[in-house]
Structure formats: structure tokens, C-alpha cells
Amino acid sequence: MSHINRRNFIKAAGLLGAAAALPFNPLRAAQKEITVGFLYVGARDDFGYNQSHAEAAALVKKMPGVTVVEQENVPETVAVQRAMEAMIRQDGASLIFPTSFGYFDPHVLKVAQRFSDTRFAHCGGLWEKGKHPMNVGSFFGYIDEGQYLNGVVAGHMSKSAKLGFVAAKPIPQVLRNINAFTLGARSVNPDITTSVIFTGDWSMPVKEAEATNSLIDSGCDVITCHVDGPKVLVETAEKRGVMTCGYHASQAQLAPEGYLTGAEWNWVTPYQEHVKAALNGEPMINFLRGGLKEGFVKTSPYGPAVSAEAKKDADAVKAKMLSGDYVIFGGPLKNNRGEVVIADGTDYQQTAVELERMDYLVEGVRGQL
């Protein structure tokens, strides 16, 4: 009996061991480990575009099985090609997030051709089927929804009915934000105008400060922007007692009094989708877009200055956007030279390609292209 017992014990132990080993093995296999590389064109703590990415990368770092390597201030030259290659060769990265728009062509495309086993998830929405490699993907968000909400709040809060917008370059993405901001404000008060100053490049702190000052001098009392780092602009406006709406990330701590709300990126949504696909060995996600509803963008919490009425109005529009039935760019819409750019009865959904080629400023914008 004792023999049998011992045998039974051994058998049982063996079975137990096998049982313990078996369910764990496939689990371990699924719990693959990957290294993910992030490249930023500016400083990670710029209170703007690069910070919005770095904040999301910090959340990716917490995902199980993920090691994150980061590199900041990588210019759009051979430097970014080499940095991506270094992440692959020196750190073993198998998924790379080149976060600057200008990295895509030719840099990401060149490196992706040489490393076909590595995934490149570029931020900017430029990937086209048949034209670009399948290990490359591109994602982007409809942040003009956030700028529209900025406009609604600014429209309520402005006393002078003059808003200011500091913009980098007159390119479609920037124009779309200026127009959305203006349309949002004019939905509250049709007399409102937005004055635009273009600084010429993405990061020009001195010019941004000058532009902010001259907008304030000309009577604008709410300022917002589309530049890489709104830090200088928000600080300058706060110093002069003027309200601001944020962009890219939250600048609330730079302007505790005048910060109204802000259009922020929420990159963690596309990041997590890409990382999960890579962990599970699913095919590369080549095209990924979304707005407020999909969680690609978000708004900053309202600042102390925002009135109850403004909050109520903005929240109502936001609710419609979240349910997916709000049209920002609908006809009839005129540009600021009086020409019709969207005909009566035409409503462009956010996904419309026409919006990606925007080359006009809407009625109510003071500025020239």
C-alpha cells in the first residue's frame, strides 16, 4: 500500500507539475516582450506637441511586457534615420513611433524598406495603400474638434469679440484648426473675429511672444495657437492678464488664472492599439484615425475663469461630438474673401478628404494666406 501510495503521490505530483506547467506555457508565450522606441522632434517637456507624445509614452511604459526607449530633439535629417536604426540594432526595438510629421517622407519610408520585420507607426496620417510599405502605419486625430470647443468657450468669455491665433505655417492642418476655432466662437457670437499671425516655423519662441503681444495690443482678449510648444505664448498672455486656450497638451499650470480650456491629444489610444497588435502578432494597423469620440483627442478641464453658461454650451456640443453627429464644416461656408468654399447642403464629416486639402480661412478670420 505504501508503495502504491508513493507511486500515486509521484504520479499526482507529476500530473500536478504538468498541470502547473501546461496552462502557464501558452500564457507565457502570449506574454511576449517587446521593445518600443519613441522619437520626438523637440524636447519631451515642451508643454506642447512633444510632451503630448511623451505623456502617452509614459503610459505605454506601464503596459506589461513592454520596454520603452526614447530619444528627444531628433531633427528631420539623416539623424532620425540613424536613430531609428539604432533603436532596432542597439536596443532590439520591434515597434517604432516616429512622432514628428516630417519624419515620414523620406526618413521612415527609407528605413522601413530596409527593416521589413520592424513596425513603424508614424504620427501624421500619411500612409497610402499600394504606395507605402505594409510594415508602416500612420495614425492621426481630429483635433479641430477640440479647437472648435476652445472657440465656443472663447466666444463666451471674450469681451472685445476679438480673438487671437498664433500659427506656425499656413498648411491645411493649421488652417483647419484656425477655422474650427473661429467657427466655434462665431457659433456663440457671429460678430467675433479671429486675428491670425503666422510665425513661419514650428518652434519660434521669440516670434511667438512678439505675436502674442501684438495680438493683445490690437485688442484680442483670448489667445490660442498652433505651434509646437505653446509655453511662451501662454505665459506671455497670463502675464498680461489675457485669457488663453491651450493646444497639444495642458498648459493649465502655466496660467492658473487665464487658462480656459484646451485641445489636447490623447495619443495613448492609438499607441496602445499598435502595441497590442505587435504583442499579439496581429497584422500592422496601417491607417488609424479618430477624434473625441474615439479617444484620440481630449479637452483640458475648465479653468476657474470659465462661466457656467460657457461650460453648459461647450458641454452640449461636446456631447454631440461624442455621439458622432456633429458637423463642424458644413455648407454654406464662405472664406474671408466672401467666396463660397462649401456649398449649401454639403456637410463634410471629419473623415472627408476635402478637409485635408484646406487652403482657405473662413469668414471672420483676419489674416491672409
Binding site: A43, R44, E70, V78, A79, R82, A83, D105, I171, D201
Partner: protein, 373 residues
């Protein structure tokens, strides 16, 4: 005593002494800086080496970054031979790049080689003209060439931005304004798949060697030494000072313009604001580190390229911010300037060495006696 060949080696190595000392003190100060910041200084040192020269990939990385610096450094070093301090290479580079990018648009379709040569010539003309303007302003209008070239560089950048984002913009480049993309036949590739560095490196090295031959062995080079040494002597000798100064400026600008051409045809594929990435400024550092010696430029450009290549590894392995590399470069530049004061002493030491060590190698005791006598 010591062997005479050692003495000769010491004489040859003397001009490099300030640079070597500068590098040594830079290393010490950088390690101290990291220690004060509570960073792992002892890991950082080997990482700098690994990232710059530790593998074939690291070498490719370093050399690719060094290539444009060799050319932009010449833009500082050649005028410096004539006693000018030109710091506007960035402007010459972007205008050269722009000229190269638009040449295929304005010329009829040509086979690759003639077109590439045309692009190179256009780039060198644009760059040469721009720096030549600084030289002309100095010689004919008394405008300080340092300030003049810097301001002209700002003007060049503004013109570049305006043209790329306005009249010369490809309407299809929506959110990244650029000139129309170069035909793939007019793009310059890499040397080989196993040595993944574009041909700009070869251009940089060859141009530096040519520049060295010019300043070292030609009549022009000899005249330049006189012009750079003293403003009055060459005029007394009847040397064409204005023409010599202009020549160095034009050649320097042409080198920077050529760097722009390679940036367009080997890296970017079109002209856009990514060209404005500080190669011209980094070239100043390289030229001063090399004491304006064209062969020294090759070495120093590789060194700086290596520093930049290793910066990424410092960021990724140790989580150090990018500013670390910038601080390292800053410390290096300050040290180079500080040790520059030693250069005059090295001339004395060289004479002393010649007298004591090499002059009378036949007898040990004789050498000192002879020189004292």
C-alpha cells in the same frame, strides 16, 4: 637621450597639442558635471565610445553625420586662412540645397551624371555667391565679416523659407511644404549596403584634401598665409588681397553649398525646412577644433559626428536628456578656445625641440651644446 625620430614626431604632434589637451579637460569636466548631477558618469564614458565608434553601425552613424560637417567647416576654415571669421555657413548650405533642388526643374531632362554635376555646380555657385558677398562687403564696404555673414545667413534662411513655402512649393506637399521631389534617378544613394553611408562623405573627404593641397602647396595658399598673417605686408608685396579674400570666401561658400546639394539629393529628396538643422553652425565648431587645417577638419568632423551619434545612446540607455550632448559640445568648444592660447607657445617649443632634439642627432651631449652655442 631620446631618439631624433621621436623628436620629429613631437614636432609634428605639437600643433595638435592644444586640441588634445582640450579633449582631455573636456572629458574630465564632463565626468565631473555628470557626477555633480548624480548621473552614472562611469557608464556614460563607455557609452559615448560605443555609440560613436563601438561597432560597424556606430561608425556608419558617425560618418554619415560627419559628412556635411566637413564641407560646412571648410566654409569657416578657408576664409580663416585669409584672416576672416565667417559664421554664415548655414545660409550658404540652404541656398545651395535649394539651387540643387530646382536645377532639374529648370533644365531639360538629362542623364543622371550630367544632371548631378549641374546640380552640384548650381549649389556651389549659390553658396559661393552668398559667402562671397560677405567677403566683398568686408573688402569694399568695411563691413565686419563675422556680423555680415551672420546677418546674411538670416536673410538666406528667410529667402529659403519664402521660396520653399511660396513660389517654389510643390502643391502636393500639403502639410510639409517642399519643392517638387527629385526624380529618383537624380538621387544619390549610399556607398554600399555593407557600408551604409551616402556619397557625401567621399565628397567631404576629397574636398578637404583638395583644400589642404591648395593652402599647403599652392602659390595661392602661400599668399593666403601672408594675407592672413598681417594686413599690410601683402599690400606692400603687391599681392591682390581683395581677390584672395574673395576667393577664399567663394570657395568656402561653395563647399557649404555642396553640403546642401548632398542633403537634398542624398537625404531629403527635395528642399524643405528640414535643411535648416544646424550643420552650418556645427561646422564652425569643427573648423575651430581643427585650427582651420583642412585635414584636421576630417578628423574633427568625425569626432563631432561621433558625439552626436552617441548622444542617442546616452538618452536611451541612461535616460539622460538630449541637452547632455549639447553640454558636452559646449564644454568642448570652450576648452578649445581656452587652450588656443597655447598655440603661440607651441611655436616656441617647436623651435626649442628642433634645436635641442633634432638638430644634432650624432652625439648626445653635442646636441645641447650646439644649440646653446
Amino acid at each position: 637621450m631620446l631618439k631624433p625620430w621621436l623628436g620629429r614626431a613631437a614636432v609634428l604632434a605639437l600643433p595638435a597639442l592644444p586640441t588634445l589637451l582640450a579633449m582631455l579637460t573636456t572629458a574630465v569636466l564632463f565626468i565631473l558635471f555628470l557626477l555633480i548631477q548624480g548621473q552614472p558618469a562611469w557608464q556614460a564614458g563607455p557609452l559615448v565610445f560605443e555609440g560613436a565608434f563601438g561597432s560597424m553601425f556606430a561608425w556608419e552613424n558617425t560618418l554619415m553625420r560627419a559628412a556635411p560637417l566637413m564641407l560646412t567647416a571648410l566654409c569657416v576654415a578657408l576664409p580663416a586662412r585669409a584672416g576672416l571669421i565667417i559664421i554664415g555657413g548655414e545660409g550658404a548650405l540652404v541656398l545651395g540645397g535649394l539651387a540643387a533642388a530646382v536645377t532639374p526643374l529648370w533644365l531639360p531632362a538629362l542623364p543622371a551624371w550630367p544632371m548631378l554635376i549641374a546640380m552640384g555646380v548650381a549649389a556651389m555657385l549659390a553658396g559661393g555667391l552668398w559667402i562671397g558677398l560677405s567677403g566683398w562687403l568686408r573688402q569694399k564696404r568695411g563691413v565686419n565679416e563675422t556680423i555680415g555673414s551672420l546677418l546674411l545667413s538670416y536673410i538666406a534662411l528667410a529667402i529659403f523659407r519664402h521660396l520653399v513655402e511660396g513660389p517654389l512649393r510643390d502643391p502636393n506637399s500639403l502639410n510639409k511644404p517642399s519643392t517638387p521631389p527629385l526624380d529618383s534617378g537624380y538621387q544619390i544613394g549610399v556607398i554600399s549596403d555593407s557600408f551604409y553611408v551616402h556619397w557625401g562623405l567621399v565628397a567631404g573627404v576629397v574636398t578637404c584634401v583638395l583644400a589642404w593641397v591648395l593652402v599647403r602647396y599652392s602659390v595661392v595658399g602661400f599668399s593666403l598665409r601672408i594675407v592672413g598673417g598681417n594686413p599690410r605686408t601683402p599690400r606692400m608685396l603687391g599681392l591682390p588681397v581683395d581677390r584672395l579674400v574673395l576667393l577664399t570666401c567663394v570657395l568656402g561658400g561653395a563647399a557649404a553649398g555642396l553640403a546642401g546639394m548632398y542633403e537634398v539629393s542624398a537625404v531629403q529628396g527635395s528642399a524643405n525646412t528640414a535643411l535648416i538643422s544646424g550643420y552650418g553652425t556645427a561646422g564652425i565648431l569643427v573648423a575651430f577644433a581643427a585650427r582651420h587645417n583642412p585635414l584636421g577638419i576630417i578628423v574633427c568632423a568625425i569626432l563631432l559626428g561621433g558625439l552626436e551619434a552617441s548622444g542617442g545612446l546616452l538618452q536611451r540607455r541612461l535616460g539622460l536628456p538630449d541637452a547632455t550632448t549639447l553640454i558636452l559640445q559646449g564644454i568642448l568648444f570652450i576648452n578649445l578656445l581656452a587652450w588656443e592660447a597655447l598655440t603661440r607657445r607651441t611655436l616656441d617649443w617647436r623651435l626649442w625641440l628642433r634645436g635641442h632634439w633634432i638638430a644634432a642627432p650624432s652625439s648626445r651631449a653635442g646636441s645641447t651644446e650646439v644649440s646653446h652655442g
